[in-house]
């Protein structure tokens, strides 16, 4: 049975399944969908991009563009599912759902549903946890040290607890599954525990337990040119910006599609729409851009219930140097794209516990021990009630070859902590995600030609006034930074099949008349330009208005 026929938004698709699905969609909707390979991964897998637009209403390049991508981080597979769901929905609902129809008729919707193709495959087919790529990084070899490993062969890498008089954990008084911090004044007989990642020690001398070594330390989202720093200063950075085929493919795609004005990168987890900047507060960005980020952020909150925060507000906390993020910061800082990172799946929120999406990391570190314990209990309650107990494995004895008797247990790191389990919860996440991005896509600017007033002044000379409108919510430039970075150079009007004697409004360069940017919804959402042309009555003049981000519109005027 074909992937298309059996498509289930509540499943995580393997690479082959995803590829088939995309190919079948492209074949099934030739007029709406094109599939292309934009690069090859480290292990040689194709990285796919789909372009969704109704070819009958014009080529994608002449429409405002909108981009979603997913799985910059291998383990955040909810994002991949959300991207595939969005593509599938837009194509299958075209003509039925007015929103899907408007998107494909008026916009170019681009999706790169899976960037870390290698990493996702490893994540879905093994117990391994990894950031982006299976590539060994920063060290090519694997030094002695503690390595996470599925010791008891249950297919998951959980935690090991070991009884120890100097342990820093103890069992909660209310829920015996919950490990809580041993307090300074806890001096009773215990028992107290030490907690380690499930795993073993390479080259152990039978003495002190070394720190965990994570061999796959590459982080695609630290590999973008904005605020890039070398590994020594920014772990995961890679040897140089866009050094990886995966990030380069995405970056090149975004740069080559100059019509892309807005962009959402799907990640997990937290249940928050993150926005630039990640390295400074809101007082240090353009106020118009800030306003735009916030208004669209409110759209997200209404559509999904997830708040919108600047990355800086969400992650910055005392004693930590400002976190430097990746693709969205780069897209905004250097290309003026209104870019967001959408952290899906908020288990804390669903369980009624505190999460950084609500109070930020600086709030989390302020929580009292009592509040932390309360949160832990709520999460386990959520596991029992909403996850059917599958999210948390109770502590079970295990004879560790090196540490002797230990107990293995804890949260499922993949399909509870990092992602929802397959099924209803996943479907809920992906539909929430799409419901926002579709609205975001339709908020992009779009040019239209409004009124045209032509009058003859005699001698085959005519005066022609043209109104160029922006029918989108966002201004044609989308952001101030787009103008500063010359990624948005104003609306350009051309007049063909008539000799222009003079013009008013706009500036003539390279044979085109540039009338600047046009604001979004509101009184300034249109601009006028008028020409004095020579032509013969009845002849047709071809008018074109074009903008990198707001599309191209054409109109034919017949001289009276």
């Amino acid at each position: 049975m074909s992937q298309l026929a059996k498509f289930d938004p509540g499943r995580y698709l393997r690479y082959a399944e995803m590829t088939e699905l995309l190919q079948e969609l492209a074949a099934a909707y030739p007029g709406l969908c094109t599939l292309e390979e934009i690069g090859r991964s480290h292990e040689g897998r194709s990285i796919w991009a789909v372009t969704l637009t109704n070819a009958a209403t014009g080529p994608a390049s002449e429409k405002p563009g909108y981009l979603i991508d997913a799985n910059t981080h291998a383990g955040e597979v909810t994002g991949g599912a959300a991207a595939l769901y969005s593509v599938h929905y837009l194509l299958t609902q075209y003509g039925k759902d007015p929103i899907a129809t408007e998107i494909l008729d008026s916009r170019a919707f681009y999706a790169v549903p899976r960037i870390a193709v290698d990493g996702v495959e490893l994540y879905l087919t093994s117990p391994t946890m990894l950031r982006s790529s299976p590539k060994r990084y920063p060290l090519a070899e694997e030094p002695p040290g503690f390595y996470a490993k599925d010791m008891d062969g249950n297919g998951q890498i959980l935690q090991m607890r070991v009884v120890h008089p100097d342990g820093d954990w103890k069992v909660d008084t209310e829920d015996p599954r919950l490990m809580v911090r041993r307090q300074p004044e806890d001096r009773g007989p215990g028992p107290y525990y030490r907690i380690f990642v499930e795993g073993e020690i390479e080259g152990w001398d039978g003495r002190a337990i070394p720190p965990v070594h994570r061999p796959m330390g590459l982080d695609f989202n630290r590999n973008y040119p904005a605020f890039w720093n070398p590994e020594g200063l920014q772990p995961g950075a890679g040897p140089y910006p866009l050094s990886e085929p995966e990030t380069r493919a995405l970056a090149t795609f975004l740069m080559e599609h100059k019509n892309i004005g807005a962009y959402v990168a799907y990640h997990t987890s937290g249940g928050v729409l993150l926005r630039p900047p990640s390295n400074r507060g809101d007082d240090k960005i353009g106020q118009a851009d800030l306003e735009g980020f916030k208004r669209i952020g409110e759209v997200c909150t209404r559509a999904t219930g997830y708040p919108c925060k600047s990355t800086y507000d969400a992650f910055n906390y005392p004693g930590q140097s400002a976190l430097v993020k990746g693709a969205d910061d780069w897209a905004y800082e250097f290309h003026g794209v209104q870019a967001y990172t959408f952290e899906l799946w908020d288990m804390d929120g669903r369980a009624g516990a505190h999460g950084y999406s609500q109070i930020g990391v600086k709030g989390l570190i302020k929580l009292s021990e009592a509040e932390v314990i309360e949160d832990g209990r709520k999460l386990l309650k959520f596991n029992d009630e909403a996850l059917g107990g599958k999210g948390f494995t109770n502590w079970t004895p295990f004879g560790h070859p090196q540490l002797g008797p230990v107990e293995i247990g804890g949260w499922d790191p993949k399909f509870a902590e990092q992602n929802p389990p397959e099924g209803a919860l996943l479907v809920d996440e992906v539909t929430r995600a799409a419901s926002f991005t579709f609205q975001h896509c339709l908020a992009t600017p779009r040019l239209a030609i409004g009124r045209i007033e032509v009058k003859s002044v005699g001698g085959g000379v005519y005066e022609m006034a043209v109104e160029v409108q922006n029918t989108g919510f966002l201004p044609t430039n989308v952001t101030e930074l787009a103008v500063q970075n010359k990624r948005s150079t104003g609306v350009k009007v051309t007049v063909e099949a008539a000799e222009v004697l003079a013009h008013r409004g706009g500036e003539r360069t390279n044979g085109r008349y540039v009338i600047g940017e046009i604001a979004g919804w509101g009184k300034d959402a249109a601009k006028w330009i008028s020409f004095v042309v020579r032509g013969s009555a009845g002849s047709k003049i071809r008018l074109t208005a074009a903008h990198e981000r707001a599309g191209t519109v054409r109109h034919e005027v017949t001289l009276p």
């Binding site: 342990g167 002190a208 929580l367």
Partner: protein, 590 residues
Amino acid sequence: MTLTESQAMEILAGYRSDKYQRYSEIEACLKAWATLYPNLCRLESLGQSPEGREIYQVTLTNFATGEDTAKPAYHINGQHHAGEITAGAVAIYTIHYLLSNYGTDTKVTELLDSRAVYVLPRIAVDGAEWYFDHPQMVRSSPLMYPYPEEREGLKPMDVNGDGRILQMRIPHPQGDWKVSEKDPRLMVRRKPEDRTGPFYRIYTEGMVQQRTPAGIQPSYDGRAITGDPGGPYARELGFDFNRNYPTNWKPQHRQAGSGRYPFDRPEVRAMAEFWLKHPNIGGAMSYHTRSGMNLRPSPLVGDDKMNPFDLAMYKQIGEVCTRLTGYPTVSVYEYFTFDYDPDHLDVGSWLEWAYDERGVQGFEMELWDWPYISGVKKRPFKELKNLSDADREADALLQLQWNDKELDGAGFINWHPFEHPQFGMVEIGGWEPKYLGQNPPEKLLHQECHKNCLFTIEHALSLPLLRIGEVRVKSVGSGIWSIAAQVCNHGYLPTNVTEVAVSLKATKPVTAELKSEGRIVGAKGKQELGQVNGRGAGSTSFWGSNHSPVTEKWTEWVVVAPAGSSVEIVVEHDRGGKVSRTARLNGVEG
């Protein structure tokens, strides 16, 4: 003079934790304890005050388990400020509690067996006596400071001879105060729209002094009353021991009370000298009044500028304090500062010196919950200036109600007429300044002592504690031995206690030395192991449960020595203590 046991017992029978003690009473108690508990308590004087009083300090530890200097140590001091006599009382109670519960209470026993506790109950010995003997207030010392002679203006004096300095209210059409409609005792500020009197002017109880041919003395020309020091504080006794420390010290014109130079006063210097000779001090508590708040660093910068590890440890221990005393632990800068203008931040305090210069995890406990005990909300100081007159009135009413309920109104002396020699008929009244405003009434003293004593016990027990764990002796050839030893820290805090202690080089690395008559080969006999984590190290991360900190390190040697001979392993650290273990070279576990 030395005491006999019976004399000592008689003195201690008289000790009460709900009474404030004079210098002589404290001296007697300390000597009595030293006499009765020679193997747990030693008394010494760190120096003498300008008026010739001893600066007493006791060392509490089980000397049978080792000298105090070989153990991690905790320092408790009280009364940088003379009038904050609660501080001395809590310190004295702590000595009493530790000595009388050793052997019965497991925590106290563990504490004195494994750690050393130094208690310096009263620093401002001269000032404290002056405080008991005079109605006026005194900051630290009865020394005329910053002005060496009397000055003109209204000088706080007990004009009606009731032993207190309260307030005087004088009716005046242009008065800026009026009587509250809610409680006749309460004075509230006159609002711009208040047109109908009576209105009052309020002054500190006292006499106007003016320059006369006979010098400056009580004298009033009937004109403006100037120089109201704005409270019962006798500003001429303005020296502040807690601004006399070298850390960020500023001279008087930029920091009131700071003295002529750091450690200018013998009392403060005596304690500092002791600290410098005792690098084993890793934790400390300095007692003050009042607020019912436990102050932690930093006094000068926000939490975002603090060392993140030290901040996390301060928060963890701070929560212990809140659980035991009910008093929140707050940053001086974030909570206890009126405005963040760097020029207005207090500098040269003990807390700065202890943490920013010695790298010691010190707290400054502001004892006595007044006025909050009456239900007034605790607010960061910078918010206080935003309080409306209505807020202030409401707070004052809460205090009056509490006073009526808990103290039968004794805390507020109601306004009563008095014929003032200079101003004629005035009314005198107001809050009891010393035994309510600055210190709890004696009936509330004990609870203050007890709960704070319990916290310092926990804090001291969280200090690092080095022990030698497993020792593995292996024969690697005839007469050649390999010896491996495990060095453990059983404490909550790391051996360095704070990370700034390492960057300040205020503490040294842990050393492990092998002593043997044989030849040690392949490695130094004395090895540096750096610092050893405490079990608290894990709590610096908030992203769920992480890899537990490992609180032990291994070290090893090879020695060429005859079978059957023995070696000694000595593990040592300023703040982690000194321990040793001998092992016999016989091929089996030593």
